[in-house]
Amino acid sequence: MDLSTAFPTLVTDLPAAFSMSVVGLVGLAMIVLDAFRNDHPAIPWLGVAALGVSAAWEATHLGAPQSTVFFETLRTGGFVAFINLIILLTGLATILLSVPYLNQLRYDYGEVYALIMFSTVGMIMLGSANNMVSIFLGLETMSVCLYVLTGFIREDEGAVESALKYFLLGAFSTGFFLYGIALMYGATGTMALPAMAAAELGTLSTRLLFWGGFALFLVGFFFKVSAAPFHMWTPDVYQGAPTPLTGYMSTATKAAAFAALILVLVHAVPGGEWQLSVAAVAVLTMVIGNVMALAQTNVKRLLAYSSIAHAGYVLVGLSAGTSAGYAGALFYLLVYAVMNIGAFGVMSMLEWDGKEGREQTLSSLAGIANDRPVLGSTMGIFMLSLIGFPPLGGFAGKYFVFAPAVDAGLTWLVVIGVLMSALSAYYYLRVVYVFWMQSADDVEATDPVRAAAFPRATVAATGTLVVCAVALVVLGVFFGGVLETTLGFFESTAMATAP
């Protein structure tokens, strides 16, 4: 690197970091505002504005050509814009849903929103990484903010327990991750993803070093996307975290981490030797997620296991190892973000126990849809989409991760996937029928009375849910355009041909 030309390069590359800078700077401004005007109600709206502007910027860059910036540490182009769009919109929805929720709990601290912004910055970096160091930076920025967000309701033991669990296990997985990077660096002598693919792995010991490092690296990633058998933390953490933030954790984090994983698989290890290992993890993840979800009585725990299961479906697309598989996985991440943020959003507005819904059973919400038809209808759509019913987005998503896997000769994997989807119908439908088909008289009154202590459904929050539901219908019918976009990211010249 020639330092004499570094400055002009940095300046010309600056637009590529537009979202990262805007979100980060506004996040800082929010902290400053919070310092002078404690918990000012305008703080979340600052965040909404920044995320909205950034999302609009990214939306206009979906067709941009792919290239690298900042001395090949970061990538730009359609792929990155797409992932950023998911992350930014998810962050936007999270803030809109958090406002009434935290208001109800009297924890509407200004720094919460700033932390959401900072973890968004981390995710954006993660999703646009072209270098192991960028991946690590992004991952840690994201995770540290999330640890704090999980436990910021510090008077609540459950939340603190969750945060601690998340932090300890997260730190542990980071260890794996770092060690993996170190070994891969040792084998190839580079941190840049494309250079890793190009490096000669001559001797047996170098190969062992590289693949051993890669395995450890994958463990770290599987932890972040909660793939089995590294999923143990998920239900506990999801159950104890403030509900809208759980939604954020389960969607944006996954989108960013999967994006980085795709980048690594495509650029650093394009050979596909890992195909069967990823397929094996996918099987385990789908089976454990779905089977465990069957037995849950708490909706947040149920959704936690369901999010494990969905990580499995995405892994099915990845294990195909083809461009269609990656494109399908990207599409799935978008759909999954929409439906899951919605599902957690609905639950956040139906929470009466004052303990982040930790102690509230599903059956205590019997017949709630009759009192709150909008929440009931949107929840119905989210659940049906999670099952994968056409014409909702969830179906199109599943179709386009399963189809490439069949094409790649992994029909057995897809058979397991669809059987698990059928199984999942049982527990998702349970939510639907408790909401719609039972009445409060049907269930024994062991649960505290559903008091009127539900968080106030603001127009913005309800509107977010309705937009999510409508988006699922649109994505379920007119998926062609989005799919074409994602397919476009993986077309044309092969990266593997680099020297």
Binding site: A324, D407, V418, A425, R430, Y433, M437, F489, E491
Partner: protein, 544 residues
Amino acid sequence: MNIPHLTSLVIFLPALGAVLTLALRRASAIRWTALATTLATFLLSIGLFVGYDPSVSTALAPQLADVWAGWLPDGYDIKYFVGIDGLSLLLVMLTTLLGPIVVLSSWTYIGEKHKGYYALLLLLQTGITGVFTSFDLFLFYIFFELTLIPMYFIIGIWGGTERIYAAVKFVIYTLVGSLLMLVGILYLGYAAGDAVNNGVFTTDWYTLLEYNIPLAVQGWLFAVFAFSFAIKVPLFPLHTWLPDAHVQAPTGGSVILAGVLLKMGTYGLLRFCLPLFPNVAQSSAGLFAVIAIIGIIYGALVARVQDDAKSLVAYSSISHLGFVVLGLFAFTTEAMQGAVIQMVNHGLSTGALFLLVGMLYERRHTRLMDDYGGLATSVPVLTTLMVISVLASAGLPGLNGFVGEFLILLGSFKSPVIDSPVLIAFATTGVILAAMYLLHMVYRTFFGELTNEANAQMADLNGREFGLMVPLIVLMFVLGFFPSPFLRQTAPTTEFLLETVEEKRAAVERMEANDAATAEEPTQVPTAPPEGQEVSIDVPSTSP
């Protein structure tokens, strides 16, 4: 009369009505909107009946077709492709006919949450019509699954006491089958794409027909497709969801379920299983005939011992649909024609039976036959209609049921594929058994002594109820006395399907024989290059 996009209009008009009902508040406004929508759809579908010309071949494309190829990117040959052929036509007409009838039958039966009920009913009609008109397997699958959700809610919200159990059972059963079929669709799409579509994934029905599937693959593909449709029909022993769903569903739901929803199973067998997998379909015809006959007899025997009138009609459905499946797997023109017409007949007569049982239930809030008796004196009109419907269902000559069952049995007797008249003789007992259990029901419910005061006070049919029954009763006679106009509409398509089955079967056999011949001569076959799994991403080549 030439209305553009008529087929799509018939499919989506009810969905439009569903959206419209969501915007309304008053129950009466919702009901009238639903009625107007379904009536308008029915009138439009008459345009299909008139516009369809049986003398024009549908061997290459359906009539009144609507295609939109830009639905998906180029990597997938998946189209929005709907149209009409002889097979679709009558089933679409049946669906649109039952639409307004079901709305009318729910007029007072549904006492709460009107908006949701009518919106779901209309959405359901869109799904069913879509199933019968799709000529793209992917599109078919979407509509096929789309019917599940509304039915789930209709049973689960407006159903009887065990409604949730019935609704969940209904969904899970169907979903297991249809998701396995989805794997089959994916596999078939890629295989057919490689063989006949320049490597592009395809689900176009006509393109799929060009592909002769190797025997080894045909076996399991047929298995997953047939499994899915067999659950829907339902065939013995996969039928156990049906009585639960029927008994718990509100009358409107039962009528749709028996009238058209079950036909999606037999339709799927005929549209996809037989022509796409002809070799396996023919070699397993004996198996299916046996299963169908077990269903015929088992359904009839179980129906005989029911105390619940609705449950009796539900089991009679299993028995009657056994005939349809038998007709399909006989592979003769008569039997297949009989099967198609029997699908319609069953929709009319069983629909009528469910409607009448529902009317009794609305009056007395019981379905047990013991609670009735002697109704003939108090409700003569209802009794008359019931007797006609029962006789139609039992296959009395002069009414519609006879035509279908006769053709099926005739065709099956001379079927070279099943080739077992003894077996078919067993099937004929189903006709006798049907008369037994149905007349038994009529006797217990309508004749004998009028003991219960509530039964004596029962009001006879009102104008709405009578009006909604009239079209069904009239059609029972029309189809019974003059079936030929309807059979003429379906004949070219059934013949085309049978020819296709025969041609493709022979083609696959030739193909397999060739393969076996080349395998015996160990010639130098150039090894195929391994399948590349290159992943590419658009980036300028960078060197570290």
